[in-house]
Symmetry: C2
């Protein structure tokens, strides 16, 4: 690979979204006098009587959580999307709006308040994977739901309002912006090449062998060439499945193993429970031919230099393009060394 990429400002193209990221490798050396994040307290009890996600506790709406033993799913008490809202649209000149229906759920990964995915056994993460699969199928079979977004916000710095290990699903009637982009670019590639964009990308990554962090029989964990967040990674299935419900039993375990490996490496990086938002992008459930989709999971972690100094995506990034200081290759090298 061109050595200039490690030394000089350049932009890299994201084949999935069609957007660019500005990379300024020489800039990592600048001093930081800005905001420091609080390091979250990791000495949490296994059960917190004040946590509305712990087993047996009462939620804000008066409902009592069951005495669950592994994964627990419920409809978000403050859902951003609902199925009961009316259908309407506004089309007045340059004012354009559409009603949006949907279902939002919360998934507790474990009854143990003190844990995160990084601390859980592969066996227990596999139960989370199976819940995602079941929810993708269940929600996707609903007439009103054409897309199912599975994600996790981990850590206070990522807007997580409760440290109990949990993720969310927001499912809805239309495709969100980011999914539209990936749909478009994967479709164009599939139509032109008769193979999935990520299958061919994965081949090239495995051959280049510069951004691979970990691989098992069924999954590859890598830093994408166009990574935006300092230690952004992507888990890509070797097989071009369109969605997670297509995984076999063994593949589901291999997926859990990949999640376990990368989240543990993250925690080891700055010796802190590593904050991130993660999400699974997969085929819409709109009943159309989505053969061009190759599902994948991404991690967008904000920490840059240490447990307390994050990358801010602000002025230039909001008005121009995302910008990063360390290269994808440098980030991959550091994470690879931490996989155990």
């Amino acid at each position: 690979m061109d050595n200039n990429l490690q030394d000089y400002s350049h932009k890299r193209y994201n084949i999935l979204t069609g957007e660019w990221v500005l990379v300024s490798p020489h800039r990592a050396k600048r001093p930081w006098q800005g905001q420091n994040e609080a390091v979250s307290n990791d000495n949490r009890p296994a059960h917190d009587p004040d946590c509305y996600l712990c087993a047996g506790n009462t939620r804000i709406n008066g409902e009592e959580n069951p005495d669950y033993k592994d994964v627990f799913v419920f409809t978000n008490d403050f859902a951003a999307l609902q199925t009961t809202s009316p259908v309407f649209s506004v089309d007045e000149g340059l004012f354009k709006a559409e009603s949006e229906q949907g279902i939002c759920k919360v998934i507790c990964f474990s009854p143990d308040h003190s844990k995160s995915l990084a601390d859980m056994e592969v066996e227990d993460i596999t139960k989370v994977v199976k819940t995602w699969q079941a929810e993708y199928e269940l929600l996707g079979s609903n007439e009103a739901i054409n897309y199912v977004q599975i994600f996790e916000n981990k850590g206070a710095v990522m807007g997580c309002s409760n440290p109990h290990p949990h993720g969310q699903i927001w499912s809805q009637s239309t495709l969100p912006n980011e999914v539209e982009k990936k749909d478009h670019h994967q479709k164009a590639y599939f139509d032109a090449h008769k193979s999935s964009l990520l299958s061919d990308y994965l081949k090239q990554e495995l051959q280049a062998n510069e951004r691979i962090i970990y691989q098992n029989n069924d999954f590859v964990v890598l830093t994408p060439f166009w990574a935006v967040w300092p230690f952004e990674t992507m888990i890509v299935p070797r097989h071009n499945y369109t969605n997670i419900s297509e995984l076999s039993e063994a593949e589901s375990v291999a997926f859990a193993d990949a999640i376990s490996k990368i989240t543990k490496a993250y925690d080891a990086l700055f010796q802190v429970s590593f904050p991130y938002s993660s999400g699974i992008h997969q085929a819409p459930t709109n009943g159309q031919n989505n053969a061009h989709w190759h599902w994948h999971m991404s991690f967008y972690p904000p920490l840059l230099r240490s447990a307390t100094v994050k990358k801010f995506m602000v002025g230039y990034e909001m008005f121009g393009s995302p910008q990063r200081d360390i290269t994808a290759e440098q980030a991959a090298d550091r994470l690879r060394a931490l996989v155990v």
Copy 2:
């Protein structure tokens, strides 16, 4: 306007970028147990001997700042873009990268370390406006520079590493993502209608009179119909100038007045020096016909509920679409009441 917009989940279309924002008006009521931001200490001295932006002080590279009296511009000591970097490109299958040249500058708005734009006289803000105009022209006349991004990150929560009142300019050889989108949508509209997209939008906003916060002879401050950030606003010139250097003397003062009014209203909202990133989107300096551009300035402030609780653009927002809890109309009502 359709009352459903105030009560039920819907998405609104951004005519400038072609993207959607999810609005969930019923959701503002949910409790917050998440991160609280530190309130920045506003008792700063007029001159801080440790500030590398104050007059007379020495910067990290050993250069001494002049004893400036109003605005002071210098080249960023840790520039993300440089003119000296080599020209190269990578085009290996699905790995695509291009070198990027550019010039990054820092603009101190005032020698007074304790001030922000909200505390400055219109006369002094006018000097900042004039500096932006001069820099747009100067940088834009450089062969290597085809786009000039003027922006400000204000407040530690917006990644600002020094509270001294200052903004930045990152200018570069290609158009960043967000500018590409606005270029595309403004051009399509202009070609079809022979008028600028924002001129027609402004007419409609003035008629609807639901999101206007302030207006003077030459500028309108409003909450765009498709606002993403809780108290996002836009300053739109009534005249369809393509860039800020076209403003007359009187219009430059009117622009400074608009900035003064909205930043003061922001500070009054939660009785705190209001953090935001602001930026000016205007015509590229690529020597092409950019008659379709109608320049404007936007403010993206993160605070949502109070001086310490911000909106997090995380999981769903990163993987799906931006999402907001209060409507643009509610935000405009609150800000309008605070303009003095």
